[in-house]
Subunit: 138 residues, 2 copies
């Protein structure tokens, strides 16, 4: 049973993760989780918060993104050396990356099969398999 995408839902998410429901975290949680699957950058989310009339420092945005990631509410996606993206979709899936615009788009997990993976060296285990389809303008 997943949380509803509401204020109450945001509150419950925080409580379940052992994070105090502060003004900033609630506001960021609502921006992140009430609008469906999203890919945000720290600066972008900060801008949205400002636009929504919530005063949040950039440090807090970074803290919050990392805390949410640690709690499994977000997933970090590394596709661009210039900045980090955080994905609200934490289910198994992959990404299109539009190099021109820097936009990310989900590819449903069911849509892609990766076969023939070699056995990882001993002592390590697979944390995740990430597929990025890089797109450029024709």
């Amino acid at each position: 049973m997943t949380e509803p995408r509401t204020y109450a839902g945001a509150l419950a998410r925080l409580r379940q993760s052992g994070l105090r429901p502060t003004r900033q975290r609630l506001a960021l949680a609502r921006l992140l989780f009430e609008a469906g699957d999203r890919h945000v950058t720290a600066e972008g989310l900060r801008g949205e918060a400002e636009a929504a009339g919530v005063r949040v420092s950039l440090a807090t945005v970074y803290n919050t993104l990392h805390q949410f990631t640690g709690a499994g509410l977000l997933r970090e996606v590394v596709v661009d050396a210039a900045r980090s993206y955080f994905d609200t979709n934490v289910t198994d899936h992959h990404h299109f990356f539009f190099e021109r615009s820097g936009q990310l788009q989900d590819i449903p997990g069911a849509g892609i099969q990766v076969s023939g993976l070699p056995v990882p060296p001993s002592g390590v285990e697979v944390a995740r398999v990430e597929v990025v389809v890089r797109l450029r303008h024709k």
Copy 2:
């Protein structure tokens, strides 16, 4: 017909790419291409050049890595937000990434099959499909 991994080879590579064979570019080309498939960072390559007695500024290392990448001699691999890796293997293949150590290791292209890719949106084409298998310690 690929270039031999020799001084003459490095020179020919540069010529073919329309890059002047300067001392620095030749030295970096030899470090990169005479030792088989490699994954280097700018700082790492700079260190190797110093160790080999070649004076090269960090700016030149960056310039050169990007020029080589533009010429198709290298491929940039984005797996770590902290730094960029450049891969001397420009054939079709994928990577293991050891999160603990920051090491990259090739997975031969033949070893992995990605199926079920959705058709990319109109107006764009697939530049590359990248698979990264993230590994962590057990």
